[in-house]
């Protein structure tokens, strides 16, 4: 059977309160979900708000909920997700909606800061370069988690974030794990305290939604498991601050 020549696309309009509006969009070969949204905004309704930048899966701007699942829309082909020529496109879950498909990412990035997600070194410009063997166990662990683009797909997919708004979420914890495994970082004692407990890694139920849906095929669940282990050991030794 030939592919349908049009798509029926339901798009969220409004803020936290709103409704789906349906558009008919021409079906093209090798069409991405972002192409569909762009067509609607440029041709059918210029008041539609959405966010994108690089269009090649690097910037992490264009994540939306497509047919009920968080996805990066620039690298999601319509052929993979459309059901009988229909798409439903909504903003990412677990974040405030600014307008239409645009979410306010402030809570997401505030949690990166709360998880002490920035590198804190002690070396000065007069010190020699740190020598970190690429095949050292810590470097390998950091490498496995480092390619996060901050798209928020994991955060929008996480049930624990939905149940516990204070929970730091998979991306912030994954970031903290890369720093915990960075031999040059000097803030790990405080970082472990920041990511532990009821609002941190120990709240993770290992549902694996983040790992299943991460478009970069990272495993935040594994990173969180590593943090759980280290923070629990620190707590048992009485080394966990706070």
């Amino acid at each position: 059977m030939a592919a349908p020549s049009t798509l029926e696309v339901s798009v969220w309009r409004g803020t936290e309160r709103g409704e789906f509006q349906t558009f008919t969009v021409p079906r093209l070969e090798a069409q991405t979900v972002l192409d569909v949204v762009t067509y609607i905004q440029r041709v059918l309704d210029p008041t539609l708000s959405y966010r994108f930048s690089c269009r090649v899966g690097m910037c992490g701007s264009c994540a939306m909920t497509v047919n009920g699942r968080a996805r990066w829309t620039c690298r999601t082909h319509v052929a993979r997700v459309a059901v009988q020529g229909r798409l439903e496109i909504a903003p990412l879950a677990n974040l405030p909606v600014v307008k239409d498909l645009v979410t306010d990412m402030t809570p997401f990035f505030d949690k990166w800061a709360r998880a002490r997600g920035r590198f804190e070194g002690a070396a000065t410009r007069r010190d020699d370069f740190a020598r970190v063997p690429p095949d050292s166990p810590a470097r390998r662990l950091a490498d496995a988690a480092i390619e996060c683009i901050g798209c928020g797909v994991c955060y929008g997919s996480c049930e624990v974030v939905a149940w516990n708004p204070d929970y730091l979420g998979p991306a912030a914890l994954n970031r903290a794990w890369t720093l915990v495994n960075d031999a040059r970082d000097v803030a790990n004692r405080a970082r472990l305290a920041a990511v532990a407990g009821d609002a941190g890694c120990h709240a993770c139920h290992t549902h694996l939604a983040c790992t299943e849906r991460c478009p970069k095929h990272l495993a935040p669940t594994a990173s969180i498991a590593g943090l759980k282990r280290l923070a629990a050991l620190a707590a048992l030794r009485g080394e966990l601050e706070g």
Partner: protein, 112 residues
């Protein structure tokens, strides 16, 4: 509750889960074995009374359950019903004490 205490609760739940995994298997296997040919209350008491090993095993079982269940319930109540803070801590502590008290009383009853 401070972060260290929260993490220690998490560790206690994991450790008690490991104990329960063994205890539940032994408990179920014992039930299946003991009632194969039918077993009266008197026969059960005849085997448990004065048996320090069984009393020690079920004491461990009861204490592991009293630690494990309230910590899990604490998460369920916080995440599903938004109950957090000191009142929740007191409620789950009361549950832990109730489970330990009634469980240990039952162990004592079949031991003496």
């Amino acid at each position: 509750m401070n972060v260290r205490s929260q993490v220690l609760l998490w560790a206690a739940q994991r450790a008690s889960a490991a104990v329960l995994a063994v205890c539940v298997i032994v408990h179920l296997a014992t039930i299946v074995y003991a009632v194969r040919g039918g077993l009266s209350a008197a026969e059960i008491l005849g085997r448990t009374r004065g048996d320090v090993a069984w009393a020690a095993f079920y004491t461990l079982f009861v204490l592991a359950a009293a630690v494990h269940a309230p910590i899990g319930l604490r998460s369920v109540l916080a995440e599903s019903f938004g109950w957090r803070g000191r009142s929740l801590e007191i409620a789950v502590l009361a549950l832990a004490l109730a489970l330990a008290t009634t469980g240990l009383r039952a162990v004592y009853a079949v031991f003496v």
